[in-house]
């Protein structure tokens, strides 16, 4: 086993360097493209680590007997197990360790908020040092395997002949599909859009997560036998009852975040104002920035993006790449409360994005054609902590500012997609419209499980993947009974 801590090679590796030597090394810096260059093109910002950098970084890991990092991982990746394989130069084995628990390691290595998860638990943090770059190493191993590994036809899976349906091909659905196909089920994934990948395709931009990386992960699942059906909306094109009648014994609903939220302020329906979902879908899924495609996209010169999450950062950085001269984040709290990954905020700043924190839009003003020209902003200050534990923004009376803009992207979250919840009789749904599930992600209808944003209402790729894993384990138990 490549993950057994007591294997001889691993014990030797631990002895090869003293803890002092290990901790004396500085954390590796990610190689990235020059901000001026990258802000005007679609190329991936982070270029990954070289093998030498990866091995050196891996040697910082102390191979703790009780690795706390693993408790911070929603899919419980054997973190020291893969890192020590990198340290000894067995990169493909490192990737195999990742694949045991994660269907999408090359994706997670790029988009997970590691600083809040695995890396936040690293013992280096307790020593007041920078944690091992677990995310960079994960990406390194997954990329290495994709570029150098030989595809293994997986003949070891013993099929059990039980048909399982997955609704939605985003991170929750893919993670679930990967686990269930390995358990021997016949897995069919139904996707509403014309591309497989969900938010990984329509949402996260090319410069942060290239489509070829997502495609490779999907191909892996296809090679394992997962069947993908595009342009098929469960609840519309076919119903849950029809799936049952077709012999599907279990259904996992991972239909994701549906309706984008707007603020409901004056002028919000002026043209030039859109949701981040619309903007990113046009650019990412429809490739609207490419002159050869038919889908239009507004290429604003002064673009305001409202929100402080990863999607807001993706939108504002996309605006730069679409030719914006000014790209401004407007966020009602301070930078400290921003939910975006630190790296995204850092990258956005490097690329020239302006940050207007403690500002909140209260009105949009348009020209005679109904096109947005200005946004009125209320200045805020921080008050007492609110339900989210973050200090809540409070208006400063009379402190109002106007900013000129010709495009506004509203990125303040999403509500769950109502299609499946509305189409299944007897399904227990919360007031917010999310599907209610138990710890095993099982809904009020025993054969129907759910996970990802349709349950959480708006979360991260890795939490969705964790849901997929848990649902797979629980559905397997349920179907074995």
């Amino acid at each position: 086993m490549a993950t057994d801590r007591n294997e001889a090679w691993r014990e030797e590796l631990r002895k090869a360097k003293s803890p002092k030597e290990r901790t004396a090394q500085p954390r590796v810096q990610m190689n990235s493209l020059d901000p001026k260059y990258r802000a005007r093109c679609r190329e991936e910002v982070n270029q990954g680590l070289t093998a030498e950098q990866a091995v050196a970084e891996a040697s910082r890991c102390m191979d703790c007997p009780n690795p706390a990092c693993m408790t911070g991982c929603p899919v419980s990746i054997n973190i020291p197990g893969f890192i020590k394989n990198i340290e000894r130069g067995e990169f493909l084995q490192a990737a195999d360790v990742l694949k045991e628990t994660s269907a999408l390691p090359a994706v997670c290595g790029r988009v997970c908020p590691q600083e809040k998860q695995c890396e936040s638990q690293c013992m280096y943090v307790k020593m007041k040092k920078e944690p091992v770059a677990i995310g960079y190493l994960e990406r390194f191993a997954a990329d290495y395997a994709r570029e150098n590994g030989t595809k293994k036809a997986d003949s070891n899976i013993k099929k059990n002949g039980i048909k399982i349906a997955v609704v939605g091909s985003g991170p929750a659905g893919l993670s679930f599909a990967g686990d269930m196909i390995k358990k021997g089920y016949d897995v069919t994934v139904f996707e509403a859009l014309h591309e497989i990948g969900g938010v990984l395709k329509y949402g996260i931009p090319e410069f942060r997560l290239p489509n070829r990386v997502v495609e490779a992960e999907i191909d892996n699942l296809r090679d394992l036998g997962v069947v993908f059906i595009k342009n098929c909306i469960v609840g519309k094109t076919i119903t849950v009852d029809e799936l049952k009648a077709d012999g599907f014994k279990g259904i996992f609903v991972a239909s994701g975040a549906g309706l984008p939220r707007f603020m409901g302020i004056e002028g919000e329906n002026l043209t030039g104002i859109m949701s981040s979902n619309e903007y990113l879908t046009r650019v990412n899924l429809m490739d609207a920035g490419n002159p050869d495609t038919d889908t239009p996209v507004l290429k604003g010169k002064k673009v305001v993006v409202v929100g402080g999450g990863n999607t807001a950062m993706d939108s504002v950085r996309t605006a730069l790449r679409m030719g914006a001269e000014r790209a401004i984040i407007v966020y009602r709290r301070s930078e400290e409360e921003m939910p975006a990954r630190i790296e995204e905020v850092h990258h956005a700043k490097e690329e020239g994005v302006e940050f207007m924190t403690l500002h909140n839009p209260i009105q949009y003003i348009g020209d005679e054609n109904g096109r947005v020209t200005k946004v009125r902003l209320q200045k805020m200050e921080l008050g007492e902590p609110d339900a989210s534990g973050r200090r809540s923004p409070v208006e400063i009376p009379g402190a109002i500012e106007e900013v000129e803009c010709d495009e506004v992207i509203v990125s303040i979250g999403v509500s769950p997609n109502p299609i499946v919840p509305n189409s299944v009789a007897g399904l227990s749904v919360s007031k917010k419209g999310t599907i209610e599930v138990n710890e095993g992600m099982q809904s009020s209808i025993p054969m129907l499980f759910a996970g990802g944003d349709i349950v959480r209402g708006g979360a991260t790729v890795i939490l969705a993947m964790g849901d997929g894993r848990r649902a797979a384990a629980a559905m397997d138990e349920y179907l074995k009974k």
Partner: protein
């Protein structure tokens, strides 16, 4: 992939296509629409389903050349394929026995109106259809509409066929003559706006089927949002049919123009 099994020109710019889509043909109802992507570079465009044949597994779509993708679709021939067809989307029309129902359609709006006319007739309503077009050649589906209507009024702007005048003139004549319990209107936004203003005057409940800009068509993007009764609604999931008297048509007209420049550029490029 959805194969085109028949094609008919209604006019130079309007084409009727019958395409293979067995699952959609089976599950669709009057008022539903599909999203179509013609090829890998195509835009996702919403098209209301005009008819379906469950035995043949086909749906009927009527397409007008507007932008690059719709032009490409109208250029396809029998045997060619549409890359993606997804649906049925939106809420189905509320069909009931209302009494006298005026179904008013302008231009290609008559195509999505046809299944509603059929369903309203089948539900036992007296159906009066008012079809309007600029000129005689642009009146479409007249024969099929007649088959399911108790009365058909045709209005042309230039008087080349039926009566001279607008769709509103035709509706007003009926409203003056008899009690109308419901009006259904489908056509250009500007037409629906004026139908709505007229029926409000006569206190006739009115349903308009809106064709806004969409991307995914499943509620995800919000490109189709409009204001109904002071609240923002998404045409793709809350509609496409709304109480016309509550719709802010001026805002809708403005929003329809959001990408007009880009549309014209793309179409000009395609023509080269």
């Amino acid at each position: 992939m959805s194969k085109i099994v028949s094609k008919e020109f209604f006019s130079e710019n309007v084409v009727k296509l019958e395409v293979e889509a067995p699952l959609i043909a089976r599950s669709r109802k009057a008022g539903h629409f599909v999203i179509v992507r013609v090829d890998a570079n195509g835009e996702r465009i919403p098209l209301t389903i005009a008819d379906s044949d469950t035995e043949k597994g086909t749906i009927t779509l009527v397409i007008q050349k507007i932008g690059a993708s719709s032009t490409k679709i109208t250029n396809l021939n029998v045997g060619d394929e549409l890359l993606d067809v997804v649906g049925p989307l939106g809420k189905a029309t509320h069909i009931d026995k209302f009494g006298t129902v005026v179904c008013s359609g302008g231009g290609v709006g008559v195509a999505p109106l046809l299944p509603i006319i059929k369903a309203m007739k089948a539900a036992g309503n007296k159906v009066i259809s008012v079809l309007a077009a600029r000129t005689k050649d642009l009146v479409i589906l007249e024969e099929q509409v007649r088959e399911y209507s108790d009365e058909v009024v045709i209005m042309t702007d230039d008087g080349s066929y039926g009566k001279a005048g607008r769709v509103t003139d035709g509706i007003e004549e009926i409203a003056k003559r008899e009690k109308v319990d419901l009006c259904v209107t489908i056509g250009p936004a500007i037409m629906m706006k004026f139908v709505s203003l007229l029926t409000k005057k006569y206190d006739i409940p009115t349903v308009a089927s809106l064709n806004t800009i969409m991307v995914d068509g499943t509620g995800m993007c919000g490109a189709c949002r409009i204001t109904v009764g002071g609240k923002t609604k998404f045409v793709c999931v809350d509609g496409p049919e709304f109480d016309a008297h509550q719709v802010d048509f001026d805002e809708m007209l403005m929003r329809l123009g959001a990408y007009r420049e880009q549309e014209q550029e793309a179409k000009a490029k395609l023509a080269k």
